[in-house]
């Protein structure tokens, strides 16, 4: 049984209320930080913990904090990125729904560390129920003296607000999020300047994911060194994984980083294997943007070592035979799923969500969607696969923000690993249209057997 640092009390009845949360040791990190530590001490502990951003990029949180400019007389802001929209990811929704005070507690400690007097939690607009939950939790915390003026007599003031988005995936990109928070279209900004220098209202700003901010609580309670003992190598601590798709037990699981993927996928403590007695065909390990892997490459690296749920192990082999941890949106595909159809579906998503600012992304995503649509519907040609790879290469790296890369990678990786399934859609077009699934021979174990 892995150690739970975030979700230990998630099943305690009433843990969403201040009183119960407090009775389980909640807000201890606020007391510890504000009464016994300086803001720099807090930053130092987070640095020592090795915590890496849980939103997808995996950038060390403590280092991000240390970049924050601190000019005299200029306000600084902490903005929590709760615009969870990456297909496959639903961990932040879970955390905010069931244990909202963990996020509020983390926001208070993190804001203190950064010297922010006003902080915002930017929640995607569709999560109105979660917005109401957070607003209630903030009111309770304020009532108990953990927010507002002179918190716990420390002289530190903090106001915390919840801001709804408007339903745009792009606002998960931190500068698009800041634009949106300023009441504008979510167009990502050109960097530099980075938000640490000029962010919200042009002031120094840190933007962190919900889970990163929640992780600050156990880091302060137990110390950065203790936190760093959990996990493996540079993948320290625990990670929330959202398991979905064709697994037997979908849901949010907190794992120690370094857990073998086989255990995560097949043990009853986690996903419990593939639903309906089917075999695993492919996995998207970190949300729709990361490269898709066929079952064999997912379970074992190209070096034939068992793959682990860690930043390094999932990335082993680069984009040729590896993938990424991303946001922890784990999507399993059973043997009946069609990779071509799924790739078209994801590409439609990126086309819909492209902000339209950069031509390669605006035009390229739409082009790829059309080509994939014709492949899926039996009108493709054998040269379409090279065309798709070509278009994806021309999007990748040629846009202001990473949405272009995120749209290019799923297409390039699907063709890299499942090329014969794409070709099968051309050579057996009439069958591909009728049958809603592709080839099963990628499924684990690797015996070549077509699904009836």
């Amino acid at each position: 049984m892995a150690r739970k640092l975030l979700l230990e009390h998630i099943n305690v009845p009433g843990i969403n209320t201040f009183d119960v949360y407090r009775s389980k040791g909640g807000y201890a990190s606020v007391e510890k930080a504000l009464k016994t530590m300086s803001p720099d001490d807090v930053v130092e502990e987070v640095k020592k913990s090795g915590l890496r951003g849980r939103g997808g990029a995996g950038f060390p949180t403590g280092m991000k904090w240390s970049f924050l400019a601190k000019p005299e007389g200029v306000a600084r802001y902490l903005v929590c990125n709760a615009d969870e929209s990456e297909p496959g990811t639903f961990k932040d929704r879970y955390l905010m729904t069931y244990i909202p005070h963990l996020l509020i507690e983390g926001m208070i400690v993190s804001s203190f560390a950064l010297g922010a007097k006003t902080s915002y939690i930017y929640v995607r607009g569709e999560m109105m129920p979660q917005i109401r939950i957070l607003e209630k939790a903030i009111a309770e915390a304020k009532n108990a003296g953990f927010l507002g003026k002179n918190i716990l007599g420390s002289g530190y003031d903090l106001e915390l607000y919840v801001q709804p988005g408007g339903g745009a995936y792009i606002c998960g990109e931190e500068t698009a999020l800041l634009e949106s928070l300023e009441g504008k279209r979510g167009n990502p900004r050109i960097k530099p300047p980075f938000p640490a220098i000029a962010g919200l209202y042009g002031c120094p700003t840190v933007v962190n994911n919900v889970e990163s901010i929640a992780a600050v609580v156990p880091i302060i309670n137990e110390g950065g060194d203790e936190y760093a003992k959990v996990g493996i190598g540079r993948s320290t601590g625990t990670k929330l994984i959202s398991a979905g798709g064709n697994v037997k037990k979908p849901g949010v699981y907190e794992i120690d980083l370094g857990l073998p993927v086989e255990e995560f996928l097949y043990s009853d403590e986690y996903c419990g294997g593939i639903a309906n007695g089917k075999r695993l065909k492919a996995v998207v390990a970190g949300g729709s943007s990361v490269p898709i892997l066929p079952a064999n490459l997912f379970m074992k690296t190209a070096k034939n070592e068992p793959r682990l749920m860690s930043y390094e192990s999932l990335a082993e082999g680069g984009f040729v035979t590896g993938t990424m941890m991303g946001s922890g949106g784990f999507i399993a595909f059973d043997e009946d799923q069609c990779i071509v159809r799924n790739t078209w579906n994801f590409t439609r998503f990126y086309h819909h969500e492209s902000c339209g600012q950069c031509s390669p992304c605006r035009e390229g995503t739409g082009w790829m969607e059309k080509v994939l649509h014709r492949l899926e519907n039996g009108h493709g040609t054998l040269s379409d696969m090279d065309l798709l790879v070509d278009v994806s290469k021309k999007i990748e790296g040629n846009t202001i923000c990473p949405l272009g890369d995120a749209a290019a990678w799923p297409v390039a990786s699907a063709i890299r690993h499942f090329r014969d399934e794409f070709e099968w859609h051309v050579t057996n077009a009439s069958e591909a249209v009728v049958r809603n699934y592709g080839l099963a021979h990628y499924a684990d174990p690797l015996d070549i057997k077509e699904t009836a």
């Binding site: 929704r93 006003t118 109105m128 988005g165 339903g167 209202y201 959202s242 949010v252 799923q337 998503f349």
Partner: protein, 174 residues
Amino acid sequence: MLRVDEAQQPVEFTPGLITKFDDIVSRYPEGKQKSALLPILHLVQAEYGWLSSAAMDKVADYLHLQDIEVYEVATFYSMYFLRPQGKYVLEVCRTGPCCLVGAEKIMDHIEQKLGVKEGDVTPDGLFSWRGVECLAACGYAPVLQIGPEYTFYENLTNESVDKLIEDLKAKGNN
């Protein structure tokens, strides 16, 4: 698309609504009231069911913005409706993980059950429906949401959708 005829109806915000606007504006620093635009548009849409250009112009007046600053935001974000909808808008997630477990069949079923195409309103004015992109609930798929509360309905089946629609019909316009 904006429809001129409906857009011409004058809009007057109630004092209760204005109080809510004022509360939102107070969250931001002096002079940064534009930040209140997205939350205010949500409140206006909850009140009227959609955003007419008359309502958007009123919001622009209230926040001291150019009208175009409101339009560009309202057209960018997918949650804002620029034409009238049914009282209940069923928004079904149509992205990858939901489709792995049957979201497309659920959409077909809703289309058949309501008898209107995606984006159209039923003749009684009660329902419209549309596919939307990932709702971050992949573990409970297939899912749909209904605004303005954005209540979630998870692990959908044809039967649960039928029951939901019947329940909403019984509630009617109340």
